[in-house]
Subunit: 356 residues, 2 copies
């Protein structure tokens, strides 16, 4: 079990590459260790099984393949998959028919980022038959777009806060008994807040609020509500990941390597760890590329048997989210990468369209 990713020791010659590729693709479909005979039978390699055996042995000392036991076939190591992903695999673009179908699905659903990222996860899950993962596009610092207040009763108002980035937040704000609250008052407060706070970040909003008086009842209530708004927005800014939506974990459960459920349970629990997810999203959002994390390359021990294919989407600097796929290390990377690429591209378009 090589924990550390070792750089491929010199480029492999073409034949070795072809054989590594064959082993991986065979193993991905059968989930069984691959023997030399099976390779010459099913892939036209033009050499005998003995030759293949020699090469398999070389690939093994290079750390790209391993051996469950002496008399079993070969299985790719994490490094083997890594080499495959970087130098061999062809990313399979999604068939045009499916592209169309998916665009159609996104068209059907509400025109709102809220729904999109969920749909993205579901779509990815369906297409790759693995688990789909998606986070909403979250800005590094959000801007207030709109404030609305609804009277719940005399001492409580329901606050609805819309952010420029599309998120909607709700909160109930308790108010002083002294202020007789009715909907008319709240309307005035909301108007005031909308005039003063629109397009501001939490920091700027706090400054503006400081300028409000304490005597005028409208301003007093506005101040109270405004403070709550600032708190909500800064909490939102502070959270590295607002929410992670995943779908199709059942698909992964069906894989033979997770037949005895315990491993998968650990994966589930690791996925509930906010800190880890935040770190992950962080590392992906930086560049615009697709990131692949294979087996032990994932830091948490529980994730050592699964791989992630993740891509950022959104507008750099204003709102970034992540979509991707989680599957067993034995996954079809070419297909996964192609699918994730398409979906993240689509999400880019949609977000762009929403902002333009």
């Amino acid at each position: 079990m090589a924990r550390r990713v070792r750089p491929p020791l010199g480029p492999l010659d073409l034949r070795s590459q072809a054989i590594l590729r064959a082993v991986i693709e065979e193993y991905v479909t059968t989930a069984q260790p691959v023997g030399s005979q099976a390779l010459v039978d099913r892939y036209g390699l033009g050499v005998s099984s003995a030759t293949v055996r020699n090469i398999l042995a070389e690939l093994e000392v290079a750390g790209l393949l391993s051996h469950p036991h002496t008399s079993a076939g070969r299985v790719p190591t994490d490094s083997g998959y890594r080499y495959y992903v970087e130098s061999i695999a062809e990313t399979l673009p999604l068939p045009a028919v499916e592209q169309l179908m998916i665009r159609h699905q996104f068209g059907q659903v509400e025109f709102a980022s809220e729904h999109w990222f969920r749909l993205a996860a579901t779509t990815l899950a369906g297409l790759t038959r693995s688990a789909g993962i998606a986070t909403p596009a979250k800005p590094s610092s959000a801007h207030i777009r709109r404030v609305d207040l609804v009277a719940v009763n005399e001492r409580m108002a329901s606050l609805i806060l819309v952010l420029r980035e599309g998120a909607i937040k709700q909160a109930t704000v308790p108010l002083d008994e002294a202020d007789a609250i009715d909907q008319a008052t709240l309307n005035k407060v909301a108007t005031l807040l909308n005039e003063r706070l629109t397009e501001l970040t939490a920091g700027h909003a706090a400054q503006v609020l400081a300028g409000l008086g304490e005597n005028d009842p409208i301003e007093r209530v506005a101040r109270r509500v405004g403070e709550r708004i600032v708190r909500i927005v800064s909490d939102y800014d502070a959270a590295a990941v607002e929410e992670v939506f995943s779908d199709g974990l059942l698909n992964v459960m069906a894989a033979p390597e997770f037949a005895q459920s315990d491993k998968l349970r650990q994966v589930f629990t690791a996925l509930e760890n906010r800190a880890y997810l935040g770190e992950l999203v962080e590392s992906v959002s930086g560049s615009g590329r697709i990131h692949v994390f294979i087996g032990a390359e994932n830091h948490p021990l529980e994730m050592h048997d699964v791989s992630l294919v993740l891509a950022p989407y959104g507008r750099p600097g204003s709102a970034i989210g992540v979509v991707g796929v989680l599957g067993p290390t034995r996954m079809s990377y070419g297909q996964a990468i192609g699918t994730v690429r398409f979906v993240s591209g689509l999400m880019n378009e949609l977000v762009e369209h929403l902002y333009a």
Copy 2:
């Protein structure tokens, strides 16, 4: 495998009850078939194992226990659990310390029903070490409380719709090019809609909209937006269950009867079936009582190995939701019922408080 619940054939005498109880409680903790010797050892029954055997045999012909094979101990049948739940089990009220802790947790979270039902599911999962399930409190017919419009760009407005029952809906409404849309116009439209539609149901709102003219640009846009609002509200009314939130399915996964993951996967898939969930929620919301569905009493085949303990909460006639627990049939019904009772009671209080 008795599919049909057979009514206990005449009341069991006290000793038989005690033994049935012992079998069930032992089986619930050990997950192993229970033998006559184990019963006399661990429960002070005051009789010999031979006598216990006789009674076990009687309970078996009554259909309350069964036999995996000749030389194994007894295991409760669904009917056995049913009898236990109805005539023997004592519902364990939640310890006062935990009650306090939970109330505290609900106090911490945002004062909004949106968060509560999720927290309820999480809490139930934690307390019972099974899966917690909760749906938001949903009205049979919703009332419009507040409409808000935000300009996205010149041809698109973002609509935020608050319902009296607490739900918030968002949608993006495309508008005619003819109407020059800016935030000022939208504010007027929103004011108009708020004046006319507040506290109306979908049906009434549609009538009011019909009265709007086509000439005034404000009214024209209002009509357009209003139609969308009506559609959203009636869709919301039509959906039997808006959303089902579940947490802690991992807990159930840990149970030995689900060691080989396949059964549980089926449960997962059954839970994704909206129609079934709707039916379930429907059947529970009627009465104010706690409902227990044991094993094969659940209609879908996939649910034959699990039990549900569900309770409605909310205000009858205005907004009803469901909270509960899903676990293996071999679950601690007394504890589950007590916990669900407490949480549903708490939810009742909270909703009441919100409306009062």
